[in-house]
């Protein structure tokens, strides 16, 4: 990456930040249940994607959201590949639309994989996507989307709010999110409850063409991932290079043996810079650097 490119990127970045702070309402620190909002957005901006009246178009700025920020980079390309594989695997006789993303230990990039996958899916015109932050212990989806924590999955499971109240349209394609909500002491029990199954079934079946992507806690640390894995249609297992030990991976996979494991997403792979395979992507990525890499 040349110096000029860096400078440009930085400038774009700063500009975006300025926009964000301007766009977002001040004093968002008070998390309170939002007023009932219908899921399809009333106000459409230049796209038909719904926009939440409270949050507007969400503007994630994490550079790790490659599907959004740098859609031509090799990583984004890989997510697209993952998406098409996943679509192929899930659209058969029955639409297996609930997918859990988990890993053996924390920090392997579950949330980012879930988000990137969700964004990638949402950018396709065929699918609406609902990203649910099911990691009640260390929720992170809201951070990536730059929204404050508010009523979310925890509240739904506790029966305090309706599902519809918690869904936030992002303005990114047909992607909506449900945050984790307030922190609770016993997520595992909550997920094991009958209510949890009901909620999941409701989410699954409300829109038959909607993908539900659940970002969960790691398998080895907590029990809820295993519980959830039994309730979804497919499980994506994230392995990050040089993080989890081989034993960890093996144990986690053992724990998920009875779940519908779709496959493994190998994250943060070391890529040989001189490998010709990615040269094409890099070049095309660089060409498009002039336009802001922000997704619509």
């Amino acid at each position: 990456m040349s110096r000029i490119e860096k400078a440009m990127e930085k400038a774009a970045f700063l500009r975006r930040q300025g926009d964000d702070s301007a766009a977002r309402p001040r004093g968002v620190d008070v998390p309170q249940p939002a007023a009932p909002v219908a899921s399809p957005s009333p106000a459409t901006q230049e796209f038909r994607a719904p926009v939440s009246p409270r949050y507007g178009t969400l503007a994630p700025d994490s550079p790790y959201l490659v599907s959004l920020k740098d859609p031509h980079c090799p990583a984004a390309e890989e997510f697209r590949k993952l998406k098409s594989v996943l679509v192929k695997m899930t659209t058969g006789e029955s639409f297996r639309n609930s997918i859990l993303v988990t890993s053996s230990v924390p920090g392997e990039g579950k949330s980012l994989t879930a988000i990137n996958l969700a964004v990638s899916l949402a950018q396709e015109l065929d699918h609406t996507v609902l990203l649910v932050d099911a990691d009640l212990r260390r929720p992170s989806v809201h951070r990536y989307f730059n929204v404050e924590q508010g009523a979310g999955l925890a509240e739904i499971l506790a029966g305090e709010v309706e599902i519809a109240e918690t869904i936030i349209p992002t303005g990114i394609g047909k992607l909506s999110i449900i945050r984790a909500g307030r922190s609770i002491d016993n997520p595992a029990e909550l997920f094991g409850s009958q209510r949890s199954r009901g909620v999941l079934a409701e989410l699954k079946n409300r829109y038959p063409d909607r993908y539900i992507i659940l970002d969960s806690s790691p398998v080895l640390s907590f029990a809820e991932a295993r519980t959830l894995a039994g309730q979804v249609d497919g499980v994506l297992f994230v392995v990050m290079e040089r993080l989890a030990s081989q034993t960890n991976v093996r144990e986690a996979l053992d724990a998920l043996k009875s779940s519908p494991l779709l496959g493994i997403v190998y994250n943060a792979a070391t890529v040989d810079e001189t490998d010709g395979r990615y040269a094409y992507y890099r070049e095309s990525g660089a060409r498009r650097k002039d336009s802001p890499p922000v997704a619509p």
């Binding site: 994490s62 550079p63 990583a75 994989t113 290079e241 040089r242 989890a244 493994i264 190998y266 040989d272």
Partner: protein, 499 residues
């Protein structure tokens, strides 16, 4: 092969780029440890003395006359000689190193001395003796004492050798002289004994024998003649006999001319008969009618001849015997003479050598042959020879880099985490996507800043560390002084605590 090498190389390169900060820090840590070690290691000082083995001009001049101990041999055993137990013990004693130490401690001491003493021969006649010790003063004194003692010992031993040789030769000469005299005496006595025999000329003797033989024949002949004459003389003196002889003669003459019936012959025959008759009649007592004087003379002559004949016979016999005994006598003498000659030869040689050895002895006594000259006496070493800090530090720098890299590789080997997609594939599940590491410009900038800071600090630290090897290279003893004062302070404190 090429492929695998390339991938290996890439693997290590990636490992290095991924952990470059750690690599630098570890390398610096190892370097620091080695640097510290180089200062902590006990300092050892080396004192060296150079000795020249001088060959004197006189040596060349008297070459062949004198016999000097061979230098080549001396040099070849030099190392052993110098590190010999006896010599080292002597040196240790003279330096009071053995003072108040037990037998076993002395053993250890001597062994240490042997280990730390080094003898190197250069150019055949130049050698250096060096010794390393913690105490520079001791090292110097030890080397000087060792060299001095060795040279003294060497000189005295050479002298002793020369003396010994001379003495030995003298003794041998004495013994051989005695033998020679004895042999001479033997020869002389033999000569005395058989002198006559030996000096006789065989040919002459033979001639003499021959002539004596001749003489003997002559004498015999003469005697026979005389004996014959005696007979004749007796007959001649008798007239009848004479008549008979004359008649006989007449008869013989007549018989030549005449036959037996010639009258005259018959007459003569008758006469002879009558004479013979007369002679027969006259037998008994009438014989002495011969000339007795003449007879006695002849007899005496015959007797004398017989005596001289006997004498000659004896002479011949004895001479013959003599002739036979000559070779034996001569052989005996020759044997004795050979014996004597041999003794004499050895004696002469010994005598000549004795002269040489006398000169050698004088040379040794006056130190005129090869001498050891101390070209360079050991000086008080100022700079420790060991540890070679500069070398150690440079090694530390190289070793730090290599060791750090080795540590990285080791850590990587020990890291049980998943490192390759292939590992995950082994689980049997399909790998749906391999997502390359995503770069975060901000985070990368931060980490770049961090690594830049680390590198800058490391570079600074490294430059700071470089001061030490530079100081060593420039022979600046500040660190030694500092260490000395630290040690002094420590011992002082320890002493104070103890008392």
């Amino acid at each position: 092969m090429q492929q695998s090498f390339e991938t290996e190389y890439k693997k290590y390169l990636q490992l290095l780029t991924r952990n470059k900060e750690r690599f630098v820090v570890w390398a610096l840590a190892i370097m620091t440890a080695v640097f510290l070690l180089s200062f902590i290691l006990p300092r050892k000082y080396e004192a060296t003395s150079t000795v020249f083995i001088e060959k004197n001009v006189i040596g060349e001049l008297v070459k062949g006359i004198t016999v000097t101990p061979s230098m080549e041999q001396t040099i070849s055993v030099l190392t052993y000689e110098i590190t010999s137990r006896t010599l080292l013990t002597k040196v240790a004693d003279s330096l009071d190193m053995t003072l108040g130490k037990s037998q076993s401690e002395n053993e250890v001491l001597i062994r240490n001395l042997q280990l730390n003493t080094q003898v190197k021969v250069k150019d055949r006649n130049l050698f250096t003796i060096s010794y390393t010790d913690k105490n520079p003063k001791l090292a110097r004194d030890y080397v000087n004492t060792l060299v001095r003692t060795y040279i003294e010992q060497n000189t005295s031993s050479k002298r002793g050798e020369s003396y010994g040789a001379t003495q030995f030769l003298s003794e041998q000469i004495k013994a051989f002289n005695e033998k020679l005299q004895k042999a001479e005496a033997e020869v002389n006595s033999y000569k005395r004994e058989k002198g006559g025999v030996i000096s006789i000329n065989e040919g002459k003797l033979f001639e003499e024998i021959n002539s004596a033989q001749q003489k003997l024949y002559d004498l015999e002949l003469k005697r026979r003649q005389l004996e014959g004459m005696r007979q004749v003389t007796r007959k001649g003196s008798d007239p009848l006999q004479l008549k008979l002889v004359a008649l006989q003669k007449r008869l013989d003459e007549l018989k030549v001319q005449y036959t037996d019936n010639y009258p005259e012959v018959l007459t003569v025959k008758g006469d002879i008969e009558s004479v013979k008759e007369q002679l027969k009649l006259r037998k008994g007592g009438e014989v002495l009618s011969l000339d007795p004087q003449e007879l006695a003379r002849i007899d005496a002559e015959i007797g004398a001849l017989k005596v001289s004949e006997e004498g000659l016979k004896r002479y011949i016999a004895s001479n013959r015997q003599l002739l036979q005994s000559i070779p034996q006598a001569k052989a005996g003498l020759a044997k004795l003479e050979v014996e004597w000659e041999n003794q004499k030869k050895i004696y002469d040689q010994l005598f000549a050598r004795h002269g040489q050895s006398e000169v050698s002895k004088q040379m040794e006594v006056q130190d005129k042959s090869t001498t050891f000259r101390i070209v360079d006496p050991a000086l008080l070493p100022v700079k420790p020879s060991s540890p070679n800090r500069l070398k150690l530090m440079l090694l530390g720098i190289v070793g730090g880099l290599a060791g750090s890299f080795a540590l990285l590789v080791l850590a990587d080997q020990l890291d049980p985490s998943v490192k390759e997609v292939a590992t995950v594939r082994e689980s049997g599940l399909p790998v749906l996507a391999v997502i390359p590491r995503v770069r975060d410009p901000l985070g990368e900038a931060a980490s770049r800043l961090r690594s830049r800071r680390i590198f800058a600090a490391s570079a600074l630290y490294f430059l700071l560390m470089l001061v030490f090897p530079v100081m060593e290279a420039l022979d600046m003893p500040h660190m030694d002084r500092l260490l000395d004062s630290v040690y002094a302070f420590k011992t002082e404190t320890v002493n104070r605590v103890l008392h």
